[in-house]
Symmetry: C2
Subunit: 435 residues, 2 copies
């Protein structure tokens, strides 16, 4: 009898958790600095709610067996539960700025970098129509990624209204008998970066678009240049169509200056994003990394979702950080602490164990994370153990040290010892940053 | 169409989350100061694993439908996943000190204070047989509860080996044809505090114990007095029986002196705890609260569980804090912050919005949580909104203020304003503790 983790899931050991914790705590601190507050919803929801607007994801829901009650499923994202929460709590003051950092579950075939349980970190501003809300979400996500050490960020921006406008233009030139939905077209266009323009052409042909119009459409969404230049060209193409979308993009660019991030913005008319519920601006953030990966964060405005799920009309926008991808890149490209433990208080023999414990208790009062021996081990074994865990400092406690009130502080990386008073040791440990 | 949270679950709104976060973050910080490291296991496990040693809880497992794969269930506690983790990771250095703060799920009839999703906060020391491990877990839990503001803590201690000893004594005086398991007797005795000695008598009669021996047994487990006195009387009663259990209790008392908690220890032979897997010391922590509640933390040693689940023999001990109960009491009896947001940066009119955002960005660099307006609201409306959320300070930004470089800092509780430089404001906000 030997049990394993279920298919598509895994355990995280302490050294990997130290990195995950560093990422999640950093993001949490920055989310909070922007005045986002956390709420918590249950891990499972009504299956009917989860399938209502989820499109393809509906097939990936973990279903829970219940006897008499309504059918349940594990949440597959944090946005649908938020929309349900807003529908249930119309009294909540607006704007409602909430963050959530939590696991979600998808019952799909596991692949490299795609597990059945994974974390999302979301911020959303609900109740505000203004583009400053979208920009604040973007600025906060940029702040998170820069603080984590990501370089050369690029924020790709587009607007679903503008995309609708482009589709409208080509629809005018197509016989009315050729019918197709804008969402199908968006989903195809969204793949340009992944599968290339030629493959997208084929997908659009399948949907039923004539070749001439496919060429026109791909021409429109491929405009390159500085934000303002691309915007100007888009305006010319659209004329009187999608004026609201263009204005929203203009405002986003203006507000981004206040946050000092306008230089990172790239207007990319080919950005579409897969989800059905977006209604206005959409955005994705990329960084320069050694290994090529897709976006590290993505989101957009979804002004109709809360109403669709039975609530009051509530404009809302938000962004989600892809925690698993961020952690993977950081593990590969950055130097990170292996443990949060700062010190091991070693006792020379069993007689001085009580004093070693007392010193540990003293350090803990100052918030210093430390361990003592609980295995009756020799000093050598204690040092080996501390080294194995990656604990950076060892304090050595013996009768001599207790008499002189000077203790050896051993720096495990540099392999040097110093004789210091307890107060000096506390100061050094408090100030040393774990890296 | 209106969706609700599933039966037995609920949403936590920002004001309640502020309290939960305060509790969980405090506990996490103290767990870490004792050198516990976190690991994470999936929310669901093999159903067979979950039911293997769970006794009555097996009926309360949320089952997940799967097509081709092994049957799964949501975890009902954090100890079984830990034992499975240890069985899967024999290489992990010992002692392995791990903490976990996470939700668990039980499919049972919801009651006041008992939901289907609830949090546990566990610390466990795995790989050490020594009683210092048990005492360290107790000391760390005591530290958590005292730091949270709980008063007059009492740590009730017993040992399963000693309880076995008492059962052995009475078994000797009962005809061999009367058969019963010790675990049944323990479960009955454990209820003395809840249902009273008379009801426990009846339960023991049902199990099949003769009246005389029930009287003897209840007499033995009801010894009261100082720790050392009760221990002495226990020793006399047991003679040569359960020597190991008595020694463990003696050691626990000795080690508790090093941690400065021996004065809180109460030796209570009637403490049994419900779970099947305990093998040695067991403990529960209570506090003096206005409303009478049971224990706030509980745990014990389980030296056989890892082996029973297919791993190497691994002695282990741990304690679990009852987060939901702790939060409930704190909400009733203590004054707690309603939000983590420190300041709202209000703009007098739309013209100065960019400057308000820049000031907010400056504050965030210093880790100060703040919001700005994203709704084009008047100054009055902004102040009302900040007050509604319980934000303690508002910084007012207008053209006059920008010229003079002095800004109004409004203390919302005291309803007083001061004109200050940005640096002064930052210092005040950094130093003010949210209460």
């Amino acid at each position: 009898m030997k049990f394993k983790t279920p298919k598509g899931t895994r355990d995280f050991l302490p050294d990997e958790m130290a990195i995950r914790e560093y990422v999640l705590q950093t993001i949490k601190r920055i989310f909070e600095s922007y005045g986002f507050e956390c709420i918590e919803t249950p891990a499972f929801e009504d299956l009917e709610l989860l399938t209502a607007k989820s499109g393809d994801v509906a097939k990936q829901i973990f279903r829970i067996e219940t006897e008499k009650e309504r059918k349940l499923g594990l949440r597959f994202d944090l946005t649908v539960p938020l929309a349900r929460f807003l529908a249930n709590n119309p009294q909540i003051p607006k704007p409602f700025k909430r963050y959530a950092i939590a696991p979600v579950w998808r019952y799909e075939e596991p692949q490299a970098g795609r597990m059945r349980q994974f974390y999302q970190a979301d911020i959303d501003i609900c109740g505000s129509k203004g583009m400053e809300a979208d920009v604040e979400c973007i600025a906060c996500a940029v702040d998170c990624l820069e603080t984590l050490g990501f370089k050369s960020l690029k924020v790709r921006i587009n607007n679903r209204k503008v995309l609708e406008g482009f589709v409208e233009i080509i629809k005018k030139k197509i016989p009315a008998r050729i019918e197709f939905g804008s969402l199908e077209v968006f989903r195809a266009i969204d793949k340009i970066g992944k599968i290339g323009a030629d493959s997208v052409k084929k997908e659009l042909e399948k949907i039923g678009l004539p070749r001439k119009q496919i060429k026109d459409l791909l021409g429109m969404v491929s405009i390159k240049g500085r934000f303002e230049e691309v915007l100007e060209k888009g305006k010319e193409l659209l004329g009187n169509i999608a004026k609201e979308g263009i204005e929203e993009l203009e405002q986003i660019y203006e507000f981004s200056k206040f946050y000092g991030i306008s230089g990172l913005l790239v207007l990319d008319f080919s950005l579409a994003r897969g989800l059905d519920y977006y209604t206005g601006p959409i955005f994705e953030i990329e960084a320069e990394t050694k290994r090529k990966v897709g976006s590290l964060a993505g989101g957009g405005r979804y002004d109709s979702l809360v109403e669709l799920l039975g609530g009051r009309a509530t404009p809302a926008t938000g962004i989600s950080l892809g925690i698993e991808r961020i952690v993977e890149i950081m593990k590969e490209e950055m130097e990170l602490p292996k443990t949060k433990i700062k010190a091991f208080i070693a006792n020379v023999d069993e007689k001085v164990k009580p004093q070693a414990i007392k010193i540990a208790q003293r350090l803990r009062k100052d918030g210093i994370s430390c361990q003592t021996d609980v295995m009756n081990r020799s000093l050598t074994k204690q040092l080996e153990f501390a080294d194995g865990l990656g604990i950076p400092f060892v304090v050595i406690v013996g009768e001599k040290e207790l008499k002189s009130k000077k203790f050896k502080l051993k720096d495990m990386k540099k392999n040097v010892e110093k004789e210091l008073s307890l107060e000096q040791i506390i100061n050094i440990l408090k100030e040393s940053k774990q890296k």
